[in-house]
Symmetry: C2
Subunit: 349 residues, 2 copies
């Protein structure tokens, strides 16, 4: 797992270099055929990447986005009408049975289809009308890491293909941003030791970093067996905050931008409960970066173009989370590459 976490800058470079021409072609196709709706379908880590796509694609293209409920197609066999929609399936292996079924059904119904996968020869790549390849290289650890950030990158590329004002030059700086996050490994490793006895946790993030809350929680569950809840801070205030008490471990993704106002307020509320909060931020959020218990990515990830200021934070932000999970697993005496009761490809309907 750790090795794959460290491979991410190179993997991101490779995806960009390999996919740009493909994505320009896709952009041509969408120019005369704009979808009225985007439906994303995925499971597990890929579903967390889809959750990022749900926010990015809707806010960057103005097209409404929905996360599919696969069982409506696979179990209940009552597929919705998707003519004119774009259906995007996301799967590391490309062999997720339910995801592929939903995509196949949508295609038969007249939807445009795109597959985002790490495996060029997979069933998903064969079904999808168009494929964006993640090109992260074989992922051996059961806990997905480099394919998650690769899928996030693929979402930016898809947004670009749909005509969104995503800047390719900024995407080209993401590998360096990932590198700067990786430079925190020693700090995060020693932090992990302090969490050795953690059995439960809350991970919170909002908007473009909502998916990272899901993803860090999933890594903590599958590699460290921590009962990790994932929330938007807005939802967390609607009830679940009652679970917090003294020393309860909380992790909060806190970039600069429009989510910071609520996050700052939420941090205060957390403080009142005595919870032990760790903030993941970057130099661009000076206020959060100067606070006591934080992981501060040593780069300013703020963006000044047509998209929100925090739009390029999610890839570097998840990296300290991945490092934390990998080091914590080791501190707990577990093998993060082979969690109990799990296998790499999960097939469900």
């Amino acid at each position: 797992m750790l090795q794959e976490v460290r491979e991410q800058p190179a993997a991101l470079e490779r995806t960009l270099a390999g996919e740009l021409r493909n994505v320009e072609e896709l952009r041509e196709r969408f120019r005369n055929n704009r979808p009225s709706l985007i439906v994303l379908v995925a499971r597990g880590t890929s579903d967390n990447a889809a959750q990022f796509g749900r926010y990015l694609l809707e806010m960057a293209t103005g097209i409404p986005v929905s996360l599919a409920a696969p069982s409506i197609v696979t179990l209940y066999q009552r597929p919705p009408q998707l003519r004119g929609a774009l259906v995007v399936a996301v799967s590391q292996s490309g062999e997720s049975t339910d995801t592929n079924r939903v995509l196949e059904q949508a295609k038969a119904d007249g939807a445009m289809t795109v597959g985002i996968t790490n495996e060029a020869g997979s069933t998903l790549a064969r079904i999808a009308g168009h494929t964006i390849l993640v090109r992260a290289g074989k992922e051996l650890s059961v806990a997905a890491t480099k394919t998650y950030t690769g899928q996030l990158l693929a979402m930016y590329l898809l947004a670009y293909a749909l005509g969104a004002p995503v800047e390719l030059d900024t995407l080209r700086r993401l590998p360096a941003a990932a590198e700067s996050a990786l430079s925190l490994e020693e700090q995060v490793g020693s932090l992990a030791t302090g969490y050795r006895d953690m059995q439960k946790a809350v991970v919170a993030g909002r908007g473009l970093n909502y998916s990272n809350a899901f993803e860090l929680a999933l890594k903590l569950m599958e590699t460290c067996y921590v009962v990790a809840e994932r929330f938007s801070p807005a939802d967390f205030l609607h009830g679940p905050i009652a679970i917090l008490d003294r020393a309860f471990p909380v992790f909060l993704f806190a970039p600069a931008g429009v989510t910071w106002t609520l996050n700052r307020e939420v941090l205060e509320r957390f403080g009142q409960t005595g919870a032990k909060t760790l903030v993941i931020t970057d130099r661009g959020n000076a206020e959060a970066a100067s606070a006591a218990h934080g992981i501060v990515i040593p780069a300013d990830l703020n963006h000044t173009g047509d998209l929100p200021v925090d739009v390029y934070t999610p890839i570097p932000y998840i990296i300290p989370g991945q490092l934390l999970a990998a080091h914590l697993a080791v501190a707990k005496g577990l093998n993060p590459d082979q969690p109990r009761t799990l296998s790499k490809v999960t097939k469900t309907l």
Copy 2:
């Protein structure tokens, strides 16, 4: 809380009696104006009811459904294009700031709008083009119960208004089904004592009962301070199952029908980990009902019409969950009506 749980059969009766004419009118309006997309927007318990609507409306009408991401409108101020869509806001109080903002924006953009609320004089009822009133009576407990089942009922009524083959005669039998679930109070109360030391739990449910997994987990979090994870069993197998170990408390909603095949398999996997699983089912699922550790609603809730066999299970199924949370809170020495750090109306953007 307990008193409001017990009021549910009467509240459901009242909603049906009071709303049927209104819903027939709405059905007329939709007949010549079928939306191309349905967007549901809500927070907290109301968002769990929306999650039910996400499944019911899509499978019963064939119209694609999306759960809104409010921050895209309220914080990022990049609303999607929703002309021709139906936007449905769900809120007990009708005063949820972000929900109302999203609805207002959608209306200005040319969307049809419906509000589902318990308060006829609320801001939400004023903004919405059409309102379905929950008529549960004032809800005093911070933990919502009767408004949740009232909102589920409103979703059936909305599906009917959209031309779905929902049978009004079957809806009229739901108060009796709720009554039969309430008859379990003594059994559930004594079960609760056995969970007195529970600190963490997993709640799982799929398809039409996915929302109930979210809702039971939320009740356990807010009234009993249990760190309760909520999952679809399909997602749970993709990683989080690693958290399970001996005696880990798991709750599974298990009606008859297409979800039972996977649920049965999942129960076996849970068994292998030594987890302590409690199944919520009804007499109509003979196999689950005859298993050892179950709460069996003494009614056959299977449905034989045009919709799936489990379509009318969610309202009675959540009731043992509500009873469990209320009794467990008392067993833990907590006041379920007034959880720490919470208030009834939560305002976030």
